[in-house]
Structures are given as structure tokens and as C-alpha cells.
């Protein structure tokens, strides 16, 4: 073993100071890494988003949405600060889908890149980790991609702002759809949900309550961690109990596996809702015709009657050759809200920018935005259904673009 010699050499007495001396100087050594460009004539906005790790998919949409909003402002000449037009520079960092890294990135965006305002990451764990740093440093942070209850439950926010859907609304939709569209079932519901922040709230608490209120019987309620791959026993149980309504809240890889395992168990519920995981187009691509009939709540679609909605999706698809996701809309809107706030503050003082975010009252690509006292802005929801590889809005009636497939084929 070659390491043997080095080990022997190192086993000589080792005084404390030999270890401490370089440590005392280590901060100077790290000074090499300092590359911070201090430009006084630009507005620096920072964002730590997941560009690698399990959530890299979300991060790529956020990157596009954030960059698009910033590019548009720069094309129009930038933002006037204290009477001078300044360009905006967006600094992006990869948080590797690790909240520890989100926090560290957010700190260095402020201390190294001198960011004056921040945009958020995606999913509660990551967004909250960054928002807590922003809160401590008293720097405004605008984010989407964090369900409002999960955001609100962390603390009383002063500098962080969230625009997304509200879990109770999301949880209520399946029952509204069943009722409004007069869909006949045996009123037996099976719920499968992950034990992440939103899964716990929607699947663990809200769905059972709302099922009861709507006169449905919950015959099964099962939770699982987000890295589970096997769902055979819970599917078998739901089948044995004869549930005709299956409500699932899970991330995409699990959503795909659950859909496959429901089919391969020979189980055919009449209504199948898969929140969260069934939203991106990859869900339908991975499943092919098995995706048909799966319902998912959505907070945005290019057909929504808001300014720029259709253009945003078209631009995204022509630039990237990918199918749009609703995440381009909330990230684009979050960046616009922040940029508008900087413009109306006319200053780079974080306090003033924060005050301007609080006053936001305008219709963006995701709908009208006005933050309430817990710093939430609710995005209106619709029920989407996968039909032939595309989603159609099947509820509410005034937004519908297609008719519901029922029962699930």
C-alpha cells in the first residue's frame, strides 16, 4: 500500500500550532478566489437556481424566464436609478438541488457579487433556504415555485415575496371538477402523496378534509418519501378497496412510476389526478398513451387571457425548441415584478426596492398580482387533462379548451 509511507511520515508529533498557523492565514489564501467585479453602473440581481441534481428541469425553465425578463429591460435601455439609466446584470448560481448550497450561494451573491435584489429558487426547501438568507441580510427576494402555505409556514416574512398557487385551492379542484361536470363515481377516494412540504399539506390534510366535506369516503391515505420507486402495495390496496377516484401528489419520476404501476396492476380508477408530477410535458412523453386522461391542476397556460401569455410560450418554444412549461411564466413574472419595483423605487436601496415590491398592483403574464400581508400572491388555477400528448383545460368552464375524458381510458 503506497499510502503506508506517507502515513508513517505523518505520525511524528504534531503540535497544535502547525495546524493553526496556516488556518489563521487561510482567509488570505482564499483571497485568490476573489474575482468580484465591482461595477457601480449596473444593477446586479442574483438568483440561485437548481441547474444540476434532481430539480435541474425546473432550473432550466427558471433560467429562461428570469433571463428573458432582464433581457427585455436591457433592450429597452435599462432602469433609471437616481436619474441615470443603468443596465441590469443577472447573476445565476447553481444550487445543485441542495438547500445548503442555495443558502451559501445566496450569501455569496450578496457579499461577492453585491446583488441588490434576489430572485428565488424552486420548491419549498430550496426557496426557503435562500429566502431566510435574504431575510437576515434585509434584501428583497421575489420568487415563484413555492406553494403559498409552505412559504407562509416558515416565518413572518419581511423581505421575501412569493407568487404561486394556494394549496387549499389546488386541493379543492378535483372535487369541484367532479361536482361541476357531474361525474359519477362510487365516491370512494384513495390518496397517495409524498411527504414533502406541499405533498403533506395537500395529500395529508387538505384532500381528506375536502373529500369528507364533499361527501366522499377516503378509503386509503398513503404517504411515501420522495425517492421511493415502488408503489405496488399501495396500488394493490387501493384496488382491493375499490376506490374509483385516485388523487396523487408526487414528483414526476414517481408520478410516471405510479401511473405505470396502476396500469400494470390491472387497476382502472375512473378519475386520476396527479398533482405536481403530471404537469411537465416529460410526463406525457415518458408515458405515451398511458398519460391520457390524467388530470393535473395548473396555474398557467398560454391560453389564459393575460397580456403576453401566448407570446411568452411561443418565444420560449421557438428559442429553445422545447415544449413550454408553466414555470417559465411564474419565473418571468417574478423577475418583472422585481424589475418594476426597482424602476418605481428609482434607487438601489434594498429598503426602497422592498417597499416598492409591497406596492405591486398590476396584471402580469400570470394574472393580477397584489401581495397580501403574508407576502403571498395567489395565482388562479385551472384543471388540465392530458389528451393525446397535449394538455387541455377542462375546468373552469369559462377557460376550457377541451372536454374532459371520463372515465380514464
Amino acid at each position: 500500500m503506497a499510502t503506508r509511507t506517507s502515513r508513517a511520515a505523518s505520525s511524528a508529533p504534531l503540535p497544535v500550532l502547525k495546524r493553526l498557523l496556516p488556518v489563521a492565514l487561510l482567509t488570505i489564501a482564499v483571497a485568490w478566489t476573489s474575482t468580484s467585479a465591482k461595477a457601480a453602473d449596473e444593477i446586479v440581481i442574483g438568483a440561485s437556481i437548481p441547474l444540476s441534481g434532481p430539480l435541474a428541469g425546473f432550473g432550466s425553465f427558471q433560467k429562461w424566464g428570469y433571463s428573458r425578463a432582464v433581457d427585455e429591460v436591457n433592450k429597452a435601455g435599462g432602469i433609471t436609478i437616481d436619474g441615470r439609466k443603468m443596465p441590469v446584470r443577472l447573476v445565476l448560481r447553481d444550487d445543485k438541488t441542495d438547500p445548503n448550497v442555495t443558502a451559501a450561494n445566496t450569501e455569496s451573491l450578496l457579499s461577492r457579487d453585491q446583488a441588490r435584489a434576489l430572485l428565488g429558487s424552486c420548491t419549498p426547501a430550496l426557496v426557503n433556504a435562500g429566502a431566510l438568507v435574504a431575510e437576515r441580510k434585509k434584501i428583497p427576494l421575489v420568487t415563484g415555485c413555492n406553494p403559498l402555505e409552505a412559504f407562509k409556514s416558515v416565518r413572518k416574512w419581511n423581505y421575501a415575496w412569493d407568487l404561486f398557487f394556494h394549496e387549499p385551492e389546488l386541493a379543492a379542484i378535483p372535487f369541484k371538477v367532479l361536482d361541476d361536470l357531474k361525474l359519477e363515481t362510487n365516491k370512494k377516494v384513495a390518496i397517495f402523496h409524498d411527504n414533502g412540504p406541499d405533498g403533506q399539506v395537500v395529500g395529508g390534510t387538505l384532500w381528506p378534509q375536502m373529500a369528507k366535506a364533499a361527501g366522499y369516503e377516503v378509503v386509503q391515505n398513503a404517504s411515501f418519501p420522495v425517492d421511493n420507486t415502488q408503489f405496488t402495495s399501495l396500488v394493490a390496496e387501493a384496488k382491493a378497496k375499490g376506490a374509483e377516484v385516485v388523487l396523487v401528489d408526487a414528483i414526476t419520476p414517481q408520478a410516471v412510476s405510479i401511473r405505470k404501476q396502476i396500469a400494470s396492476a390491472g387497476y382502472a380508477p375512473k378519475l386520476l389526478v396527479i398533482e405536481k408530477g403530471a404537469e411537465p410535458v416529460q410526463f406525457a412523453e415518458a408515458l405515451g398513451k398511458l398519460a391520457d386522461g390524467v388530470l393535473v391542476g395548473g396555474y398557467w397556460d398560454p391560453s389564459f387571457p393575460y397580456p403576453g401569455a401566448k407570446d411568452l410560450a411561443t418565444t420560449f418554444e421557438s428559442e429553445t425548441k422545447l415544449t413550454f412549461s408553466q414555470h417559465i411564466a411564474d419565473s418571468y413574472a417574478a423577475a418583472q415584478i422585481l424589475l418594476d419595483a426597482i424602476a418605481s423605487a428609482g434607487s438601489l436601496d434594498p429598503e426602497k426596492i422592498n417597499a416598492a415590491v409591497a406596492k405591486t398592483d398590476k396584471t402580469y403574464v400570470v394574472g393580477p398580482i397584489k401581495f397580501d400581508e403574508s407576502h403571498n400572491a395567489k395565482l388562479p388555477l385551472a384543471m388540465l387533462q392530458w389528451q393525446g400528448g397535449k394538455t387541455s383545460i377542462v375546468w373552469p368552464a369559462d377557460r376550457a379548451t377541451g372536454k374532459i375524458l371520463f372515465p380514464v381510458p
Binding site: 506517507s6 498557523l21 488556518v23 482564499v30 457579499s111 431566510l132
Partner: protein, 326 residues
């Protein structure tokens, strides 16, 4: 690294005097404590990260480099420390110091409880066993509702600012350094080496191999748990995937390998390099993970004794100082 090259020759000349040693240790420590007052905020942040990584790497080095216990289970104690610290802060209103001390105690208890089983495993089995321990703890925390599931826990008390945390981390590093000095420079170090090199032979000549390993394992676990607690306080919010993440097990290993396994400055040099690479590549968010991997592979291939080994070789070639053997 320039730090090392300048300090090395000088060391062999006057640093052997006990008085000079104590004085220099004191000065270094004082400088470390004073650092956050005059350093820019960015360097305090990075410094905190660096201190934490050095502690983790030293703890890993104590196990692997000096006892032959190659562990992939640092994250079990890191996560444990994080959860115990936050739990105590939230529910008992104890101070940070008390919460951290308690987390060290809990980690030592866990180490004690697991030791009987883990130490029956030799070599690879020990590595795989510690990996499973971390994963089992994470799954337990994810599934048992007391720990907040995948949502995790939030610190309800006000968080101390990073200057104070930097000082706490500096203090922890001093403790870790003392431990390493003891482990490598005392009678205990002879026992450690005896156990590492040939456990069976050591047992035959009367070394209580089990106790020696247990002592090292418990101390390392306590250090890692305190580091976990500090990181949790810094974050203000913890959840199982971040706190029990594999990265807390693998990063210390990568750091020690980069710096030099069993080398006295291995952990420090490795940590500085590791953190500096992370910061330098921050502007290439899409590629930095892959580049880190490539650097790791190249280093292992070209510098089997780590950066410290490279430096030693370079010094031996340029100067006749007896650096390498000291």
C-alpha cells in the same frame, strides 16, 4: 498554499521551542477570532464554510488516516447534530453552546451504540456499513413525523450573525486540532497506528483495539455533530435531504484525498483547494459539478499523495531542507 511554503522551513528552525509553540498557537487563534471583524463579509462567509470543511475532514482523517476506518457515514452524525441542535433550540430555549454540546453527546451515544456492530466489519464492510447507517437515519427522519418529514424544521429563535458563527467554528477547529495533536503525538497515537496497521497483532500484544477505535470514532462523531449543528444554525432551516445528504460524507473524503491522506496538512490544504474551486467555478453554473469531478480524478491520478505530497516532492527537489521527513 503559499502559506505552507513559507511556513515550512521556518518551522524546523525555531518552532520546536515549546514557548514559541504556545505563543504562536495563541497568536494564530487570536488572529482567527479577530479575522471576521476586519475581513469583508464575503470572506467571513467563505471562511465559515472553510472552517467547517476542515473540521469534517480532520474528523474523517482521524478515522481513516490514523485508524484505518474508511467511513462513508459522516452525514449520519452531521444530520444528527443538525436535528438535535435545532430541536433543543426550539423546544428548550437553551443557548447555542448547550445545544451544540448536547448534540455532541447524542452523537457519541449513537457512535457507542453502533460501534459493536460496525467494528465487527473490516475494510470494505465498514465503509458500506457506515453508508447504510447514514441512509437509514435519513429515511427514519423522513418518515417519522416528529422530525417534520421532508419539510424539516425551522429555527424559531433569532439566528446569530455569521461573525459569531465564524468564531464558534474557529473554536471548534481549535478543539479538532487539539484532538488531532493528541491523536498523532501522544501515547494514544502509537495505539492508533498499531491498530490501523495490524489490528490482530495489536490485540495480541495487549492493545485493546476495540477501545482505541471506539475512542477515535466517538470523538470524530462528536466533532462532526457539532459541525452539523453549526451549519443548521447558519441555515435556519433543515430538512433530511440536505442534512443527511451524501455530500457530507463524500466531501470530507474528497478533501482529504485532494490534500493528502494521512498528511498533517492534508485536511487544510484540501479544504482550501476544494472551497476555492467551488468559488472560482461559481460563474459556470452548468459545468462546475462536472469540472470538479474531472479535477478530482486528475488529482487522484497525478498526485496520489495529494497536494501536500506534491509540495513535499517539489520542496525536496528545490531545497535541501529536511522538510519532508519532519
Amino acid at each position: 498554499m503559499s502559506v505552507l511554503t513559507t511556513s515550512v522551513p521556518e518551522r524546523s528552525l525555531l518552532l520546536h521551542h515549546p514557548f514559541v509553540r504556545v505563543a504562536l498557537s495563541g497568536i494564530s487563534f487570536a488572529a482567527l477570532l479577530a479575522a471576521p471583524s476586519f475581513l469583508p463579509a464575503y470572506f467571513v462567509e467563505i471562511g465559515f464554510k472553510l472552517l467547517l470543511y476542515i473540521v469534517l475532514a480532520e474528523a474523517w482523517n482521524l478515522l481513516a488516516g490514523y485508524c484505518g476506518l474508511v467511513s462513508l457515514g459522516s452525514s449520519s452524525f452531521f444530520g444528527l447534530g443538525a436535528y438535535v441542535t435545532v430541536g433543543l433550540l426550539n423546544h428548550t430555549g437553551s443557548g447555542i453552546g448547550l445545544a451544540l454540546a448536547a448534540s455532541a453527546l447524542v452523537a457519541m451515544t449513537l457512535a457507542l451504540a453502533m460501534s459493536r456492530g460496525l467494528f465487527r466489519l473490516r475494510g470494505l464492510y465498514f465503509t458500506v456499513g457506515t453508508l447504510a447507517l447514514a441512509e437509514a437515519l435519513r429515511l427514519l427522519v423522513v418518515n417519522v413525523p416528529w422530525f417534520g418529514g421532508a419539510t424539516g424544521l425551522f429555527v424559531s429563535a433569532d439566528l446569530p450573525d455569521v461573525t459569531e458563527l465564524f468564531r464558534d467554528a474557529a473554536l471548534l477547529l481549535v478543539v479538532a486540532s487539539l484532538v488531532m495533536t493528541l491523536a498523532t503525538g501522544s501515547r494514544f497515537s502509537v495505539l492508533l497506528r498499531a491498530v490501523r496497521d495490524d489490528e490482530d497483532a495489536a490485540s495480541q500484544v495487549g492493545v485493546r483495539a476495540f477501545r482505541v477505535k471506539l475512542a477515535a470514532f466517538m470523538v470524530a462523531s462528536a466533532l462532526i455533530a457539532i459541525a452539523g449543528g453549526l451549519q443548521a444554525i447558519k441555515l435556519g432551516a433543515i430538512e433530511p435531504y440536505g442534512s443527511f445528504g451524501l455530500q457530507w460524507s463524500v466531501d470530507p473524503l474528497a478533501i482529504v484525498i485532494i490534500g493528502g491522506l494521512g498528511m498533517r496538512f492534508g485536511a487544510i490544504v484540501g479544504a482550501i483547494f476544494f472551497v476555492a474551486i467551488g468559488e472560482l467555478l461559481a460563474d459556470y453554473p452548468e459545468l462546475h459539478v462536472a469540472i470538479t469531478g474531472i479535477i478530482l480524478i486528475i488529482l487522484i491520478r497525478c498526485a496520489p499523495r495529494g497536494l501536500c505530497g506534491l509540495l513535499e516532492t517539489a520542496l525536496r527537489r528545490t531545497g535541501p531542507t529536511k522538510v519532508a521527513s519532519s
